[in-house]
């Protein structure tokens, strides 16, 4: 039987305010444990929470960026449960009147653009952290994070594949980073993602039984965890089994999801309006002021990049944040062709950034760097292959391409007689390969070219090398 998957995501984004949601403690990541807490965030009796205005504004700003309706009237609620990382015994959250509702974002997968609905965005406080490693037969609790403003973005079950889910998270991350409300760091946990996933036979209307997947702290894991879970559910159904509604944890080492098997008694959060906080009322003037603070969003940037002559695929990748799109445009303005800049950026530059776990807004290279490099490749001073080396060196040292090429003597050798010497040398060293080539093993051409490049440290003009090889090998 053919199945389709139905996925809804919940994204938790820590807001990048300086202080916590209801008190003045710092939210800075990485401080010594339990040094950023006070009577309010560790739940001492008799204290009162006071709302951080910036956190409210950040949620409104996010709502505006993802086409939500901003509630003119909203309030907080208490969600009651016991857990060691929750000092008060309740979390201040929002229940029936969230700040934002009914939004959407657009994602593009395989060239098809689709709207993913957003049910709501609400504001709550984060919990502390439980630490199990090094705690022996106990657990440790660090409450530095307790009370950090946390925005929960809930999608409609509009997502139909793990790929779409990963794109959705990427898109939301790009937006929250763009408007400066969250740093989007999935490894440090400032952006976290849970998924509700079920499968149903294609054509069936009712939803299947869903499971909730937690602990997917990168785009790749979102995709992998969902792929695994969907396969798991389909296998159970095909074998005549039944899906159990439960929470499952993604284990990235094992590459599987596992039942949490915790003794979660049926949850009863007993939500009720938070009596310590007054309601939030948002008027149009306030909304307009916040709107003014939003600059160009990824979708608008994508359109402008397409107008710059980029294909949709490239525009999609380069529009993801303002820095990448700015770097692209500025480099093109210096004279490089849009296709060569785009290839360099989404190819080698992105690879280097990924290796360093960095984003374009942390890229140390400016438009002059990229343009300088591309000009040297274009006018034949260096080969594209050497270009990679130069790019890496520029990234490391911040020097410009021209001086790196000069210092390291990387100028491309286009002198035929000079290259010919090397070609002869390599061919005379490899009589067996020459024989095999002549017997029809064409792919050995690459082997010879590689040897020559190695001998010239990549400096030989590849076009001339190929011409000479073909001539010498007689075809």
């Amino acid at each position: 039987m053919q199945y389709e998957s139905v996925i809804g995501l919940e994204i938790h984004a820590q807001l990048s305010t300086d202080s916590k949601m209801f008190c003045g403690c710092s939210t800075k990541f990485g401080a010594e444990p339990n040094t950023q807490t006070c009577q309010v965030c560790i739940g001492m009796p008799g204290v009162l929470p006071v709302m951080n205005k910036k956190a409210i504004e950040y949620v409104i700003k996010t709502g505006l960026a993802v086409n939500c309706r901003i509630a003119p009237y909203s309030r907080f609620a208490r969600k009651n449960y016991f857990y060691p990382d929750l000092p008060k015994g309740y979390q201040i959250s929002q229940y029936e009147l969230p700040i934002c509702e009914h939004g959407f974002v657009e994602i593009t997968v395989d060239g098809i653009t689709k709207k993913i609905g957003l049910t709501r965005i609400h504001l709550e406080e984060d919990a502390g952290k439980n630490i199990h490693e090094g705690a022996g037969s106990h657990s440790f609790v660090d409450l530095n994070r307790a009370g950090t403003p946390l925005m929960e973005i809930v999608s409609e079950p509009d997502i139909r594949s793990p790929q779409e889910a990963a794109e959705f998270v990427k898109k939301l991350r790009a937006i929250v980073r763009d408007i400066g409300v969250c740093d989007g760091n999935m490894e440090q946990g400032s952006l976290r993602c849970d998924a509700n996933v079920s499968v149903r036979p294609v054509g069936q209307k009712e939803l299947g039984t869903k499971t909730e997947i937690k602990n997917m702290n990168s785009f790749r894991f979102v995709e992998k965890a969902l792929e695994y879970e969907i396969k798991r559910q389909i296998k159970i159904l095909n074998e005549g089994g039944r899906i159990v509604q439960e929470t499952r944890l993604w284990d990235s080492n094992k590459g599987i999801t596992e039942s949490m098997r915790s003794k979660e008694e049926a949850h009863d959060y007993r939500y009720f309006p938070e009596p310590d906080l007054v309601p939030v009322e948002v008027d149009n003037a306030w909304i307009e002021r916040i709107k003014e603070g939003i600059e160009e969003l990824p979708d608008e940037r994508k359109q402008s990049l397409i107008q710059h002559g980029l294909p949709e695929h490239d525009a999609n990748l380069l529009s993801i944040n303002r820095s990448s799109s700015d770097l692209f445009k500025k480099t093109v303005n210096l004279g490089s062709s849009s296709k060569s800049v785009s290839n360099l950026m989404i190819g080698d530059l992105r690879r280097i950034l990924n290796e360093e776990n960095k984003d374009f807004d942390e890229c140390p290279l400016g438009p002059e760097h990229l343009d300088g490099l591309l000009k040297l490749i274009e006018n034949g001073t260096i080969s594209g292959r050497i270009g990679k080396t130069v790019l890496e060196e520029m990234y490391k040292t911040g020097k410009h391409a021209e001086s790196i090429v000069k210092e390291k003597g990387l100028i491309q050798v286009s002198d035929e007689s000079e290259i010919e010497k090397v070609v002869d040398e390599i061919l005379s060293k490899s009589p067996k390969e020459v024989e095999r080539f002549r017997a029809g093993e064409e792919k050995l051409l690459g082997f010879f070219a590689g040897q020559i490049m190695k001998a010239t440290k990549g400096k030989a003009n590849p076009k001339i090398v190929n011409e000479l090889l073909r001539k010498k090998l007689g075809n």
């Binding site: 305010t17 300086d18 202080s19 008190c23 003045g24 403690c25 710092s26 010594e32 444990p33 339990n34 040094t35 950023q36 807490t37 006070c38 009577q39 560790i42 006071v50 709302m51 951080n52 205005k53 910036k54 956190a55 409210i56 309030r75 009651n80 016991f82 060691p84 439980n130 630490i131 199990h132 705690a135 037969s137 106990h138 657990s139 440790f140 609790v141 660090d142 409450l143 944890l249 949490m260 915790s262 008694e265 009863d268 007993r270 309006p273 009596p275 906080l277 007054v278 309601p279 939030v280 009322e281």
Partner: protein, 90 residues
């Protein structure tokens, strides 16, 4: 039994006798509160807050936190850096 569920949610351990007493007492409290249901509240907005106030905010300014030893002072079990709790099985 309702009383057992309420006790579990509040993490209270009640003896049989206590269960019996509280069950009776809670029953009469709920009965008393139920009087409110006799009022016709159609068309009346639920009250979120008894004071006619809204939008009480603070600016996003950092204020000094408690020194760690003060913060941990009341914890029944702790180390130099952390609160220590029974192992949480996940």
């Amino acid at each position: 039994m309702e009383i057992e569920r309420v006790a579990l949610l509040a993490r209270l351990e009640l003896s049989m006798e206590e269960q019996e007493i509280f069950s009776r007492q809670l029953g009469s409290i709920i009965e008393y509160i139920d009087k409110l249901n006799e009022l016709n509240t159609a068309g009346i907005e639920p009250t979120a807050h008894v004071l006619p106030m809204k939008n009480i905010f603070r600016e996003d300014k950092i204020r000094p936190s408690l020194p760690r030893d003060k913060a941990l002072q009341n914890a029944p079990v702790k180390t130099d850096d952390f609160y220590r709790v029974p192992k949480i099985i996940e």
